[in-house]
């Protein structure tokens, strides 16, 4: 059993993850093939495409030795995985945003605040050290609608370009974190499959550095 099982996140990070694995020489994966097959063998390794929130679950429980997943997913999970490398793609920021005409948008913080978010753990962490009376409303999608409908005063959400926020008349009030894709590994696999896991981490790190150098040149 030399190969690794590697969980890849479906969605926004998927194609970049495949292309980085290609650049690292770790696997040649055609993203379109995953539309027909859920699990693809490449050389010794097996790649599975799962929902981003499921990547840490597969890795912690030992279903996969390694995974690629956004830091924003790791903020929210209680799963214990080793975070081995910052892969520096899929960048986005977690921001608190309020309607353009609100007091909050002018920097006036009300004493009590209703926050709609898909990131309740991060929201509680962000507000934990601040003396505000905050109610976190957990939603599963389209949080921008919450201020429009009066469900919440503001949103805590991920933004890559800021376009969705602007289109919904929201302005950024504060930044709560920045996220990029990470390589994660199972605790026991890091020990029992150290050479394979280490080689994957080294190859991916090298590919990331080369990409950044090429981008800067």
């Amino acid at each position: 059993m030399k190969g690794l099982r590697i969980a890849l996140p479906g969605g926004a990070l998927f194609e970049s993850a495949c292309s980085l694995l290609g650049a690292a020489g770790a696997a040649r994966l055609d993203p379109a093939r995953f539309d027909r097959e859920l699990s693809i063998r490449d050389g010794d390794n097996v790649f599975v495409k799962v929902r981003p929130t499921d990547v840490p679950v597969y890795v912690e429980m030992g279903g996969c030795e390694c995974g690629i997943v956004g830091k924003d997913i790791l903020w929210e999970t209680s799963r214990e995985c080793y975070e081995l490398a910052d892969l520096k793609f899929g960048g986005c920021r977690l921001v608190l945003a309020a309607p353009r005409d609100s007091a909050l948008a002018r920097g006036v913080w009300p004493l009590s605040l209703r926050v709609a978010t898909k990131y309740p753990v991060s929201a509680r962490r962000f507000f934990a050290a601040r003396s505000l009376n905050v109610v976190v409303v957990r939603l599963h999608g389209s949080v921008e609608l919450a201020p429009l409908t009066g469900l919440a005063d503001c949103v805590l959400d991920i933004t890559a370009t800021g376009r969705t926020l602007a289109a919904n008349n929201l302005v950024e009030v504060a930044e709560a974190g920045t996220s990029t894709a990470r390589l994660i590994a199972n605790h026991a696999a890091l020990k029992t499959r150290n050479e394979s896991v280490g080689a994957l981490a080294v190859a991916l790190r090298r590919a990331v550095t080369e990409r950044l150098a090429a981008g800067a040149a």
């Binding site: 912690e60 975070e83 081995l84 910052d86 605790h187 890091l190 029992t192 896991v197 981490a201």
Partner: protein, 415 residues
């Protein structure tokens, strides 16, 4: 037809809390067998078996374990208003027993235990809330020979329990904190790096170190964290260019420990792993974890905890470990399939031969052959008893004879 409609549903299936398990005949026996073999091994090494309660006062537990473990306790109040909790581990209980009842020794004191521990964890996590743990504590011995004994015993018990391809990772709780001190990190940066390591977030370790002016040798070592593992040779690699007494002392202890493990003849299953510690507040010296390729979780872990007993008013050095019986069971089943359920001979009898059948059953049980005697006449068991004698089959052939002959034939090959 899915067969689903045939399963009991509704009220008939209610009544078990989430995160807890029933173990039916085969798995329950397998799990008990593993625990029994662990304890037999502990006792063979001179460790005396003790039993501590499933419930301890929250104050007792809080004296021993950190905040994260305290917040994962099932707590409740008894009729006097005392705040109690179901134990989440049993080392603290053993420490309490030693401090209050065995503080006069004789030392070193070798104790072992096995029992349920409970963690109040999120549902849907796929993780057990009740698990069976067996462990050893070696109290009142401060030398590395005690640490080596615990590591060798943990490995021996796991192998005796049937776990294959084990691998022990040995580290030192003072190495990384010592390294951070000698790297000249200020308290904030030091806490940040330790917290990131505790979260297993090596990306955060890297960015925390980049923001400091840590000396190159130390930074190089800390960044190499996941690869700081191997045999005795990595200690020399790690020592190169390292300043400060603390990390050097940790490396020296690991070198001596390695030699002791060589004397225990287990270094073929041991890796030194300089980054292998998380619980820096609890452990004070060598630490270890045991893995198998068949499990994504550590099967056992332990180390030296010289400050715990003093929190109970009895400053004594101590080292010990715990083995996770359920994870071991999972790991064995994953490799070899379910453990065979114990075989039970069914003894049937014809009218007038009930007493003979019971006599045969008693004789078989004295020879430790498990058998169940039919409750009514005319059954179709492995052994047939009639007033004219006993019939049984062996190797596909039917044999006949007296009760004595049957016992001899059916116990052939058993001790």
């Amino acid at each position: 037809m899915t067969g689903l409609e045939a399963l009991p549903s509704g009220a008939a299936f209610r009544g078990r809390a989430d995160g807890f398990a029933d173990y039916l005949v085969g798995p329950a026996a397998g799990r008990r067998l593993i625990a029994d073999r662990f304890i037999e091994t502990f006792e063979a090494w001179g460790y005396g078996f003790v039993v501590t309660p499933l419930i301890e006062p929250v104050g007792t537990i809080a004296a021993g374990v950190g905040g994260a473990q305290q917040s994962a306790l099932f707590r409740f109040m008894d009729s006097d208003g005392a705040l109690l909790a179901l134990v989440g581990e049993r080392t603290v209980s053993v420490a309490r027993v030693v401090a209050t009842q065995l503080h006069e020794g004789p030392f070193p004191l070798r104790l072992c235990y096995a029992g349920s521990v409970l963690r109040n964890r999120a549902l849907n996590a796929g993780r057990r809330r009740e698990s069976l743990q067996a462990g050893c504590e070696l109290i009142g011995a401060d030398g590395l020979a005690a640490d080596a004994e615990c590591i060798a015993l943990a490995a021996a018990a796991l192998e005796r329990g049937g776990v294959e391809h084990i691998q022990v990772d040995v580290g030192h709780a003072d190495f990384i904190p010592g390294l951070l001190d000698s790297a000249g990190l200020d308290a904030t940066a030091r806490e940040e790096v330790l917290a990131a390591l505790a979260r297993r977030d090596l990306v955060a370790v890297e960015s925390a170190l980049e923001a400091t002016d840590a000396a190159d040798a130390e930074r190089r070592l800390l960044l190499a964290f996941p690869t700081l593992r191997g045999g005795r040779e990595i200690l020399d690699t790690a020592a190169g260019g390292l300043r400060g007494e603390r990390p050097h002392r940790a490396l020296q202890e690991l070198a001596q420990l390695w030699d002791l493990l060589e004397a225990h003849a287990i270094t073929d299953r041991v890796h030194l792993d300089l980054g292998a510690v998380r619980d820096w507040d609890y452990y004070t010296g060598p630490t270890f974890e045991v893995f198998s390729v068949d499990s994504g979780f550590a099967l056992g872990s332990g180390g030296r905890y010289d400050t715990l007993l003093s929190r109970f008013g009895t400053p004594l050095p101590a080292t010990g470990f715990v083995l996770h019986v359920d994870r071991c069971h999972d790991s064995i089943v994953r490799r070899a399939g379910a453990l065979p359920a114990p075989t039970v001979l069914q003894v049937s009898w014809e009218r007038d031969a009930h007493a003979d059948a019971l006599e045969l059953a008693r004789a078989l049980r004295r020879k430790e052959v498990a058998c169940a005697c039919d409750l009514v006449a005319g059954g179709d068991g492995d052994v047939q008893v009639s007033s004219s004698g006993v019939r049984w089959s062996r190797g596909g052939h039917e044999e006949r004879g007296s009760i004595g002959a049957a016992v001899t034939a059916l116990t052939a090959g058993t001790p």
